[in-house]
């Protein structure tokens, strides 16, 4: 069967089961409830004053009685500095565990060392919002026997609620924790800020291990993770490389192209009619998107406009704007640098939120629904405004769905910023290799060679034109780009589906096929 974007989706996929095709961003939400059954969280019991402390990560893992075919989950708040995922999987492999489903909220290039375990049958399936580096290449080549699932940050919470991701063991790294498992990422030498993506795992996993390089006196404050969900606690020498966990302060790019696109985007936002008193705002941490914040800050000061809240993955630019009084609060599901962690610790108006509050479509309203403006990146965008943020120009997986489709569906104004081509590779084109976010959620595209408004937003187009901004038809832009780069040959694939891209509501928006080498 075909989904609403005309992409062929099989009824059934070995290793996943039956698939439901994407029907539009709000078709399922409009009903007001989720039809799929939810699974109950486990109930456990502990005797008073019994100890949860284990001497080694291996001891803790052994105590959880791991078995082949289990699902193990992790969070990705340690980003490029993470050692816990690789160390844990290595221990499981040493214990002879096979056929593991790896459910990490995301995977980065820090996880390249997992490749041997993908090849030897230790890991046979992956659920994640993003996959990069060697792993992304290998899975696109079909290294895993079962198809992987790419979900959004909000979609992951839904997956856990419905038991699609049925976590047997959650291993949660923290930069500070106490003997009972109360844990936080806001302080300690490996501080990484919010633990927004880890909380759902602690609530639903059959067994939960907290790993820290910093045991503090009971009770650990603040409690991002609370003790009533935690089975075991381990202190290790290191949870990863602190310089890569929080690489100092998120620097605004100096790349002239990113800055130019950011400047154009800020102008678009200013003239859109959405930058009004009390607006809420989110930007991605990527080069051009983050730089937009710098220009928005300038405009807010110039026009004396105050916003309400900053949402999402938070950078030091967001913290600066909070401290300057430009916004009244920050809701933080993921913190990108050290300054953000300490702000989260000290500033009562900088609030940690779990992923479900951030972006789960199936509850009584996540915060992305309250977004006025979001600025997002793209690896590719097509003439229907569909965005690819997951597969690169060679067809490998080298990105993350993240909160892209969550925020795009919620925000009043979704701005995509990207260059129109990179090197010789066209970015704005007729057809993208993989759709992650449907075009209906994207309002305006800003590139160095033109600004294009989604035809379903005529009033926005008028506002921009009235503001003196030249608006281009996206088909014309795509043609112009092709005129410069030439027509790129599409990526060659076999018929085998190696992965699926879930939309936030659980339907399948696209499939990823095996790349031909």
């Amino acid at each position: 069967m075909k989904n609403i974007l005309n992409i062929e989706i099989p009824d059934n996929l070995n290793g996943i089961g039956s698939l439901e095709p994407f029907q539009g961003a709000f078709t399922k939400l409009k009903k007001g409830w989720m039809e799929e059954k939810t699974v109950p969280p486990p109930n456990k019991a502990k005797m008073p004053h019994s100890s949860k402390l284990c001497k080694t990560l291996r001891e803790a893992i052994e105590k959880t009685k791991p078995y082949s075919g289990m699902t193990v989950s992790f969070h990705h708040h340690l980003r490029g500095g993470d050692d816990i995922v690789v160390n844990s999987i290595r221990i499981l492999a040493e214990l002879g565990i096979k056929d593991i489903t790896l459910a990490s909220s995301s995977l980065t290039s820090a996880h390249d060392a997992l490749l041997p375990f993908f090849k030897d049958g230790t890991i046979t399936q992956v659920f994640s919002s993003g996959i990069r580096g060697e792993l992304g290449k290998a899975i696109a080549q079909g290294v895993l026997p079962k198809p992987f699932v790419i979900h959004s940050h909000g979609g992951r919470v839904r997956c856990v609620h419905t038991g699609k991701i049925k976590i047997d063991l959650a291993i949660i790294a923290a930069s500070a924790a106490d003997e009972e498992g109360n844990a936080t990422g806001t302080h300690g030498k490996s501080a990484f800020g919010s633990m927004g993506y880890a909380t759902i795992d602690s609530w639903y996993a059959k067994q939960v291990v907290v790993v820290t390089d910093n045991i503090v006196d009971y009770p650990c404050v603040p409690q991002s993770i609370t003790q009533n969900y935690i089975d075991y606690v381990v202190e290790v020498n290191s949870i990863g490389d602190p310089t890569k966990i929080a690489g100092g302060s998120t620097r605004i790019t100096k790349a002239p192209m990113d800055l130019q696109i950011a400047r154009l985007a800020a102008n678009v936002i200013e003239k859109s009619g959405e930058l009004k008193e009390g607006f809420s705002f989110q930007v991605g941490a990527g080069g051009a998107s983050l730089a937009v914040a710098k220009y928005i800050r300038k405009i807010m000061k110039k026009t004396n406009t105050k916003g309400s809240f900053v949402l999402g993955g938070v950078t030091s630019v967001g913290v600066d704007m909070l401290n300057e009084g430009l916004f009244s609060s920050i809701f933080d599901v993921q913190s990108f640098d050290a300054e953000v962690s300490s702000s989260l610790m000290k500033n009562p108006y900088h609030i940690e939120i779990p992923a479900g509050v951030y972006a789960n479509p199936f509850n009584c309203g996540c915060m992305t629904n309250k977004l006025d403006i979001v600025v997002l990146g793209a690896l590719e965008i097509d003439t229907d405004f569909n965005v690819n943020v997951i597969t690169g120009s060679e067809g490998y997986v080298r990105g993350a769905s993240g909160g892209h489709s969550d925020t795009a569906s919620g925000a009043n104004l979704t701005v995509v910023v990207c260059p129109s081509f990179r090197g010789r590779i066209p970015i704005v084109k007729e057809k993208v290799h993989t759709i992650v976010t449907p075009g209906e959620s994207i309002d305006v595209l800003v590139t160095e060679r033109g600004i294009c408004v989604n035809p379903n937003r005529p009033e926005l187009k008028q506002n921009l034109i009235d503001g003196g901004i030249e608006v281009k038809d996206i088909h014309d832009l795509a043609k112009e780009v092709e005129g410069i780069t030439g027509k790129a040959k599409p990526i060659e694939t076999t018929d085998r589906i190696v992965g699926i891209v879930e939309y936030r509501d659980g339907t399948v928006i696209d499939v990823i096929r095996q790349v031909v080498e």
Partner: protein
């Protein structure tokens, strides 16, 4: 006016997207001596392939008395960029000779003499002394610019950032340009990290009467544009003056007052110039 090194494909293909009013594709100082052929050929191909729409394209060629200058003209003149920028012009004899060569090439290709403009760069003490005669030599010359680095070297100045040594030259060159009613562009600001220094210098040379400033990094565009773009307040003031002038003109009054200040013809001229820089037509007022 953004300088782009002539042998750098990545920068050449993106030159027009940064919001500069013009780009200067440089075959001269930004290109190594053993890559002059390479840059010349690359710029020739780029000019024919990339649409630099919305951006004035100028090519800076090498001086005619270098081993590269004549070949630059042979290759670039037939492509007729908006303008050619001639470096280190010192005497009327030189400019006479160069324009003769340009026009011979144009004749050979059946091209008109009045389409492509010529910018002269004054970069030596002798050039500063002769600037008016050079600038008024031909109608094709529609801009002069000062090359601060070379001039400082020629004047044997100790390295300094305050620009005191070239201050006289700046003023002399502005005066020559104004006398010929052509544009005049200031030299580059080399410290791309120092945004405040760039802003101060841009403000200073704007006061001297320069039309614009050459820049070497796209990041400098925003600051120079900010300095040279009239503020909302300036535009409102100018619009008020021009409107009052139009009203009074109908009644035959030449001198009048706006907000208690005397307005006469020169004030109106300046107000019109502000509106022109802000891209506002008088008929729109």
């Amino acid at each position: 006016m953004l300088y782009i090194p002539g042998n750098n494909p990545a920068m050449l293909q993106q030159g027009s997207v940064y919001g500069a009013d013009g780009i200067l594709l440089d075959l001269e100082d930004a290109v190594a001596l053993n890559q002059k052929d390479s840059a010349r050929i690359l710029v020739s191909h780029m000019l024919q392939y990339i649409s630099y729409e919305g951006c004035e394209v100028t090519v800076r060629v090498n001086h005619i008395d270098t081993p590269f200058g004549l070949e630059d003209l042979q290759q670039i003149v037939p492509l007729q960029p908006n303008a050619l920028r001639l470096p280190k012009v010192e005497t009327v004899e030189e400019i006479t000779r160069i324009i003769k060569v340009i026009e011979e090439i144009e004749d050979k290709h059946g091209l008109p003499h009045d389409k492509m403009k010529v910018h002269v760069m004054i970069e030596t003490a002798l050039g500063v002394q002769n600037v008016y005669e050079i600038a008024q030599y031909s109608d094709r010359i529609d801009a002069i610019s000062i090359g601060g680095q070379d001039l400082a070297a020629d004047m044997q100045l100790v390295k300094s950032t305050d620009g005191i040594g070239i201050d006289y030259a700046r003023k002399q060159i502005v005066m020559a340009a104004k006398a010929c009613k052509i544009d005049v562009f200031d030299t580059v600001y080399v410290d791309t990290e120092n945004e405040e220094g760039l802003r101060e210098e841009a403000e200073y040379i704007k006061k001297l009467g320069f039309t614009g400033k050459a820049i070497i990094n796209p990041r400098q565009i925003e600051i120079v544009n900010e300095v040279f773009t009239p503020t909302d307040l300036e535009i409102r003031k100018a619009a008020k003056i021009v409107k009052a002038f139009e009203r009074n003109k109908a009644e035959g009054i030449g001198v009048f007052a706006v907000d208690g200040k005397m307005v006469d013809a020169p004030v109106v001229q300046r107000a019109l110039r502000v509106l022109e820089m802000a891209d506002i037509e008088v008929s729109e007022l």
